[in-house]
């Protein structure tokens, strides 16, 4: 079958009423949590993971994916209208989007953001459709040594591109690896790190860690901060941008899409990094950089296109190589695993309907988002006025029921409470929990492949540098590490993240 036939297969899968419905639910939920500050897509997906267990595999994955890219849309709505980024990736949108709204051009900003995102989403979806089969046929040649190098590269690159001090991030990965080792060792059958508790023999459930570290901790820290002032909503005006807006936004959208698609593929990339990079690029190429921060339409168009493109293209490494590139993708990986599907090159050949159905649903989801978002903006904005104290008990309940439902075990709920506590300590120590999740998910894979590679080579570690693909990956890892030590790059990176924190 050629790509076209496969895409058609994908659309026929994605267009079944049930899958269409879950796509819509995902997109709506994503927009909702994108609009509501204090609830992020990571926590939401963590909470909903157990529920996908009750759904057919494709439907569950379609829904979770919808939440992820839907959140990018919703986050920008509040960024523009109330200067409140619903998601980290929408922080830069506040700079010019809110200014536009203040000048009475809120409608234009929203429309540019939505249309730009739709365009970017379309391009990135096609990117997946084209790159997916290519990369995965390449990955079929991978042996254990290649996978070890790829995972090392992925883990290290993820820490370097993600925010925060690198040493801490590496430490968090290591802690994640340790958590991943809890339970019965796959190779020898020995019990490891279990404190002798039978409840831990099967290891720690991913959802338990995810809900503990993201769900519970987020609630606790939000409550600490409490005291949300009243929200001032900028008046809504006519939606359609002027021709001038279009003329200026168009090239910005193109550039944003390019950057976003590229950065999304890189480990540790993803929506936030993409939107920041594209904003600074726009500022650089603009003839009138001083307009930025005062309602430049490019400053809305480019980051919005970029974050949406990146949200989609970050699926590429997961779907083709089975390697999640950020913590959102770690969630998606475990959503696949719940159904016994291991993402990677074999899914494309054995279960093409899963891959292509997801790709097709992403495009449909993006279309739905434009349709949902533009007319319903008034409704979303009104949701902003729902106080957090009414929301968090609901989230708390969903978290608890969700964890319990995985194994019908009270122990898991208690364990998650413990992880909530741990997550709180991490926050106070200013350690990002994201890398921990990556380490946890990749740990068992890394260990299995490392063992296999060294068993085949009879303990000779040179196997990793004798194979060309593996060597390339290791060199890339070393180069990345070297870059970190170079002062100029370090400064750049610090600046980039300072902007993010501001």
């Amino acid at each position: 079958m050629n790509t076209f036939d496969l895409l058609m297969l994908g659309f026929s899968e994605a267009m079944t009423p049930a899958n269409l419905g879950f796509c819509l639910i995902g997109a709506l939920l994503g927009t909702l949590i994108g609009v509501l500050p204090g609830i992020g897509p990571t926590a939401t997906i963590a909470v909903l993971l157990p529920i996908t267990f009750f759904l057919p595999p494709l439907a569950g994955i379609i829904m979770l994916a919808g939440i992820y890219y839907g959140a990018q849309y919703g986050g920008s709505t509040t960024a523009i209208l109330v200067n409140l980024p619903g998601e980290a990736s929408a922080v830069v949108t506040t700079l010019d989007g809110y200014q536009m709204a203040q000048q009475g051009r809120a409608g234009a900003a929203l429309a540019v953001a939505a249309l730009g995102s739709f365009f970017a989403g379309t391009v990135a979806t096609f990117g997946i459709a084209i790159a997916g089969p290519m990369l995965s046929s390449f990955a079929l040649d991978f042996g254990p040594a290649e996978y070890v190098s790829l995972m090392l590269f992925g883990l290290l690159a993820a820490t370097i591109l993600a925010s925060g001090p690198v040493l801490k991030a590496i430490g968090m990965i290591l802690i994640g690896l340790l958590f991943g080792m809890v339970g019965t060792d796959q190779a020898t059958g020995a019990e490891r790190l279990t404190f002798g508790s039978i409840d831990l023999f099967d290891g720690i459930e991913f959802t338990v860690i995810a809900i503990g570290l993201f769900g519970f901790t987020e609630i606790i820290t939000n409550l600490e901060r409490s005291g949300s002032e009243g929200v001032k909503v900028a008046p809504l005006t006519r939606l359609w941008p002027t021709r001038e807006d279009f003329r200026r936004a168009w090239p910005a959208v193109l550039r944003g899409t390019g950057i976003g698609t590229f950065l999304g593929i890189l480990p540790g990339g993803g929506a936030t990094l993409a939107s920041f990079s594209s904003y600074s690029l726009e500022k650089k190429v603009s003839k009138n950089p001083r307009a930025f921060g005062h309602g430049a339409v490019e400053g809305v168009a480019a980051p919005e296109a970029a974050n949406n493109a990146a949200a989609q293209s970050s699926f590429i490494p997961l779907l083709t190589l089975g390697i999640p590139s950020n913590n959102m993708m770690a969630m998606m990986l475990s959503a696949f695993m719940i159904h016994g599907i291991t993402p990677g090159p074999t899914v494309l050949t054995n279960q093409p309907e899963i891959f292509w159905g997801l790709v097709a649903s992403m495009w449909i989801g993006n279309l739905l988002l434009v349709v949902i978002n533009l007319p319903l903006i008034g409704l979303w904005v009104r949701l902003l006025t729902v106080p957090y104290r009414l929301l968090y008990p609901a989230i708390l309940l969903f978290c608890c029921v969700g964890i319990y439902s995985i194994n019908n075990r009270i122990f898991d709920v208690l364990l998650a409470a413990g992880f909530g506590l741990l997550g709180y300590i991490f926050r106070k120590a200013k350690c990002e929990p994201g890398p921990l999740l990556l380490g946890f998910v990749l740990g068992p894979l890394l260990e299995a492949n490392l063992r296999r590679a060294l068993l085949i080579s009879q303990g000779d570690a040179s196997v990793f540098i004798e194979r060309p693909i593996s060597l390339t990956m290791l060199i890339a890892t070393v180069v990345l590490l070297a870059l970190m030590i170079l002062p100029s790059f370090r400064k750049k990176r610090e600046e980039a993240f300072q902007e993010e924190e501001a």
């Binding site: 001090p165 430490g171 404190f195 968090y392 409470a417 350690c431 260990e447």
Partner: protein, 153 residues
């Protein structure tokens, strides 16, 4: 071995990080003390846990050493109320769900959980608890078939 940002980040958060890393590393070493290490070609169950724990300890020590020398920085916004109440309400939910059924557990979770927010009012809380419990019972227990008793009897 100095990460970016480490130079600016000060005292306490980094010292706490060091304590966490060294603590987990030590715990990992202690727990894997009886595991078979094996050789590089035949890795035992203890090989990687030990390796990871040792790197973690080294990393923690490096961060800690640096932290003692850099400018002081406090740990921000420690408030015990939300932390304790949320944790306790979840633990309470766990026990109640097992022994007293979903309805009581959910009611407890919402009511106890809202205490974490000083601005909560009893009336809204009770209404919220009733609404969420009904929703949860219908959607999760009846609808999705989560294996949990509704009532203690």
């Amino acid at each position: 071995m100095s990460g970016p940002g480490a130079s600016k980040k000060g005292d306490l958060p980094d010292l706490l990080t060091a304590a966490i890393f060294i603590g987990f590393g030590a715990l990992g070493l202690w727990l894997s003390r009886n595991l078979d290490g094996g050789t590089l070609s035949q890795m035992g169950a203890g090989y990687l846990p030990r390796a990871v724990s040792i790197i973690l300890i080294v990393l923690g020590a490096a961060i800690g050493l640096k932290a003692t020398r850099s400018a002081s920085q406090p740990i921000e916004g420690l408030k015990l109320r939300p932390l304790l109440i949320i944790t306790l309400s979840v633990i309470g939910f766990a026990y109640l769900a097992e022994h007293a059924g979903f309805v009581l557990a959910s009611f407890w979770l919402v009511v106890a959980g809202t205490l974490a927010d000083p601005g909560s009012r009893l009336r809204t809380t009770l209404l919220l608890a009733a609404g969420l419990t009904a929703f949860g019972a219908l959607v999760f227990v009846k609808g999705l078939g989560v294996q949990i008793d509704l009532w203690p009897f």
